[in-house]
């Protein structure tokens, strides 16, 4: 049952196979549903500007859609190859980008290939045209049965927003009155940035998707939502990243075939729980690669990430926040997200933050739930050894830091750090773990051979006391 936001008594959040209600209430009470949304497959027909491919990738990432096919007027493919590619892509939506007048003939040719490949697809894909009016007419003539809509130039912010709005509408289709999880996260990030009066980054990893959201103090929000995750989408992640990229994060020797079996079983077992330490390590490894791939795809699509890396607050949500130890969530975030300065890392276990975000996305004023501050992470790459001073309720601790150092300084009460070479003194009221000094450098150097890799990872895990000792 759904209702207008004023009457909503609780928010129901869908996970892979189960739903959680926040706050738990009667099943008859009005409820606002938060869902991941349907998978939307987008194909792009591109004019000659090389920026168009990046712009369409940016739009797809921001809208949480899967870009399944790119055909360009200058891609060297034949008419039949283009048609085959588009038929196999089976797009729900086609974006035709022809901003240049000289693109009209080329894009019309691509539209002919689309018609040849997908004329009998059910339902027919809608075509969004961003370009010259003649391009739109030519595409309409080539694909007479496909519904055609206009779109502003997706290289501009307005065009991208229009594309994102359209993609989200398609993702909501047949779901009734719902809020998409990524919309809720973006609204929550915006509210947190306003509350903290600082830039906030939200890292959300679920079974089927990964989101990196940067909310600026001025209210602007930039989100990247990738269909890669630690559960139902774990197999896709391994297909994208390669098994070795995932295996390298596990602090023990694991045979690749057995690891792949675990990944495949997890992908077909919705909401499965990692009961063993190895399964937990695998979930952490998958989360690292999911975030890393979301970031690298965003970088390739031209998403500006400098501001996100410099944000002073990072909040972890989803499966990433539900790992048994806060140190586990923290280590995944530090390894995968290379902040450029001192960062306060917090986590929001449970679904309260998503619920608040969903209500905020509907324009309701909400009180944000408390989130657990885990640690202040000071990433540095000092040219020579330097002193870091950590002041807390127990006094002052001085740590000598050199390149390669990775250590935790446990703290109590109010914490303040004095870092070399900067006048900024990061402060926090209370930290669950303390201050983490990370001088490992970026990108992280993980040795390829197990004989060196395992001790290196074991040292990093031991520094934060990440994994429990196995008793069986």
């Amino acid at each position: 049952m759904t209702a207008s936001t004023e009457h909503v008594a609780s928010v129901e959040i869908a996970h892979e196979a189960r739903t959680e209600r926040v706050p738990p209430g009667s099943a008859d009470a009005p409820v606002l549903r938060v869902v991941p949304g349907d998978v939307v497959r987008v194909a792009a027909l591109l004019g000659r500007d090389p920026q168009l491919a990046r712009a369409s990738a940016f739009g797809a990432l921001a809208g949480g859609a899967s870009l399944v096919g790119l055909v360009g007027t200058r891609d060297g493919r034949t008419f039949v190859e283009r048609a085959e590619l588009l038929r196999e892509a089976h797009p729900d939506l086609v974006v035709a980008l022809a901003p240049d007048r000289r693109d009209v003939d080329g894009v019309a040719e691509l539209a002919e290939a689309l018609h040849f490949g997908c004329a009998h697809q059910h339902p027919l894909p809608h075509i969004l045209v961003a370009g010259d009016v003649r391009a739109r007419d030519r595409i309409a003539a080539s694909c007479p049965a496909n519904p055609i809509e206009s779109l502003p130039d997706v290289r501009t912010a307005a065009g991208r927003e229009a594309l994102v709005a359209r993609l989200r509408a398609v993702r909501r289709r047949a779901q009734g009155d719902v809020v998409l999880r990524d919309e809720a996260l973006e609204a929550a990030a915006r509210a947190m940035a306003a509350d903290a009066k600082a830039d906030v980054v939200v890292l959300d990893v679920t079974g089927g998707a990964t989101s990196v959201i940067h909310a600026r103090l001025d209210g602007a929000v930039l989100g990247v939502h990738e269909r890669l995750g630690v559960g139902a989408a774990a197999d896709r992640l391994v297909a994208r990243a390669g098994l070795d990229r995932v295996r390298r994060w596990i602090p023990r020797a694991v045979e690749a075939p057995a690891l792949l079996e675990r990944v495949f079983n997890r992908a077909r077992w919705p909401d499965a729980i990692p009961a063993s330490v190895l399964a937990l390590s695998l979930e952490m490894a998958l989360a690292r690669e999911a975030i890393a791939h979301a970031l690298s795809d965003a970088e390739r699509a031209g998403v500006p990430l400098e501001g996100a890396f410099a944000a002073p607050l990072v909040v972890l949500t989803g499966r990433l926040a539900q790992l048994p130890r806060a140190a586990q969530s923290l280590l995944v975030a530090i390894d995968a997200f290379g902040a450029t300065g001192a960062t306060l890392v917090s986590r929001a276990p449970g679904d309260a933050l998503i619920a608040a975000g969903a209500l905020a996305a509907r324009g309701r004023a909400v009180k944000l739930p408390t989130i657990d501050a885990i640690a202040i992470v000071a990433e540095m790459w000092p040219p020579r050894s330097a002193i870091v001073r950590v002041k807390d309720a127990s006094g002052v601790v001085e740590e000598r830091v050199s390149r390669g150092s990775f250590l935790l300084v446990p703290t109590h009460g109010v914490v303040e750090i004095v870092l070399p070479g900067t006048t900024v003194r990061p402060r926090a009221e209370h930290l669950e773990l303390g201050v983490v000094i990370d001088a490992r450098g970026r990108p992280l150097a993980i040795p390829p051979r197990d004989a060196e890799r395992i001790p290196t990872l074991a040292r990093w895990h031991a520094a934060l006391d990440v994994l429990p000792t196995e008793t069986r």
Partner: protein
């Protein structure tokens, strides 16, 4: 219930280039060709309407070879019937594959041929250039993932018990065109040997994910992969690694040996063509439990008791079932026929 007798629908997506298709309403049998077509080489664009001086919409009226028709080199494709005739002829041998909105035509050489066979006994309910759908009644078993092309054959047992592993030594050319039932695991060696011996498909509780990637490529995922006819067909009923089949699933397969069957890869289903009263197959099966380290799955006891909130080795705390081998998280126990894909 894992086994169900039902009226099923099987979609058969077609590649580009369909030249003949079963008509809607036509009765077909599993294994019958329901569509055939050609694969194309690099096409040639030929001036059409503008060459013979007609409007693009009128081109069809003067075409002598319809779209989709095969042509030889210099075959007249279209011609106006005036005294001073104008004609469009094909520059190559092949098929006229497409008419553009501006009236030009594409002619492509034929480089191969394909056929698509039905995986159900029944009636064609949709037939167009993208897909042929057949609806019909059959016993069916839903798996979690299938790989390779659709397969048609007779059921044959490759194992004695549902917990056995399918051994390559049990497979020889006498099993050609059979759908071979493995037990808890079909190894990569048994899959490749079965394919070499002409076995139509291998059906087992689980298959090694690494082996599947070797056979079907690194892009293969846990959702399965539909491929061309050159690859073997594998249906995983429960998961990956090792997964003994429940007695309620295996016993009907024993009874159905020699029955006609198909594997429909896209839906990951085994269809068996036996009468509805062939046996008491529709029995509920025990739930399945994912192992703690996710390396396989196993059937559970029929009567499970809750152990309450339990702290596992990973320190995850969750509701658990009590079993002889220790507590199992409730989330890791699923009914055999529970949906294995997340809700959107």
């Amino acid at each position: 219930m894992p086994w169900r007798y039902w009226r099923w629908s099987a979609e058969h997506p077609l590649p580009l280039g369909a030249s003949e298709r079963a008509a809607e309403g036509q009765e077909v049998h599993a294994g019958d060709v329901i569509a055939a077509g050609t694969t194309y080489g690099t096409p040639v664009r030929v001036a059409g309407a503008r060459r013979i001086g007609v409007a693009p919409d009128d081109l069809g009226r003067v075409m002598r070879v319809p779209i989709g028709g095969e042509v030889e080199r210099r075959t007249i494709i279209a011609r106006t019937g005036r005294r001073f005739a104008r004609a469009v002829s094909s520059p190559i041998a092949g098929r006229v594959i497409h008419q553009r909105a501006d009236g030009d035509l594409y002619v492509a050489p034929i480089v191969g041929r394909w056929v698509v066979r039905s995986t159900l006994d029944g009636e064609v309910t949709r037939s167009d250039d993208a897909c042929v759908t057949v609806e019909g009644s059959a016993w069916a078993l839903q798996g979690v993932a299938a790989y390779g092309p659709d397969a048609v054959g007779e059921i044959a047992l490759g194992v004695e018990t549902p917990v056995d592993e399918l051994q390559p030594s049990r497979i020889d050319v006498r099993m050609r065109d059979r759908i071979l039932i493995g037990g808890a695991r079909a190894t990569a060696e048994s899959i490749t040997r079965a394919h070499a011996c002409g076995v139509a498909a291998v059906v087992a509780g689980a298959a090694p994910a690494g082996g599947l990637r070797v056979v079907y490529g690194d892009d293969a995922t846990a959702s399965g992969a539909t491929t061309g006819t050159e690859a073997p067909t594998v249906l995983c009923l429960i998961g990956f690694g090792t997964a003994p089949l429940p007695r309620e699933v295996f016993a009907p397969l024993v009874s159905l040996v020699h029955a006609r069957a198909t594997v429909h890869t896209a839906s990951a289903r085994l269809f068996v063509f036996a009468p509805e009263n062939a046996g008491d197959f529709a029995q509920s099966a025990p739930s399945l439990a994912l192992s703690d380290d996710w390396l396989g799955a196993r059937p559970m006891d029929e009567h499970l008791s809750l152990a309450g909130m339990t702290r596992f080795a990973s320190e995850v705390e969750a509701e658990a079932f009590a079993t002889d081998e220790g507590p199992v998280p409730v989330a890791n126990v699923l009914a055999f026929d529970a949906p294995r894909t997340p809700r959107s």
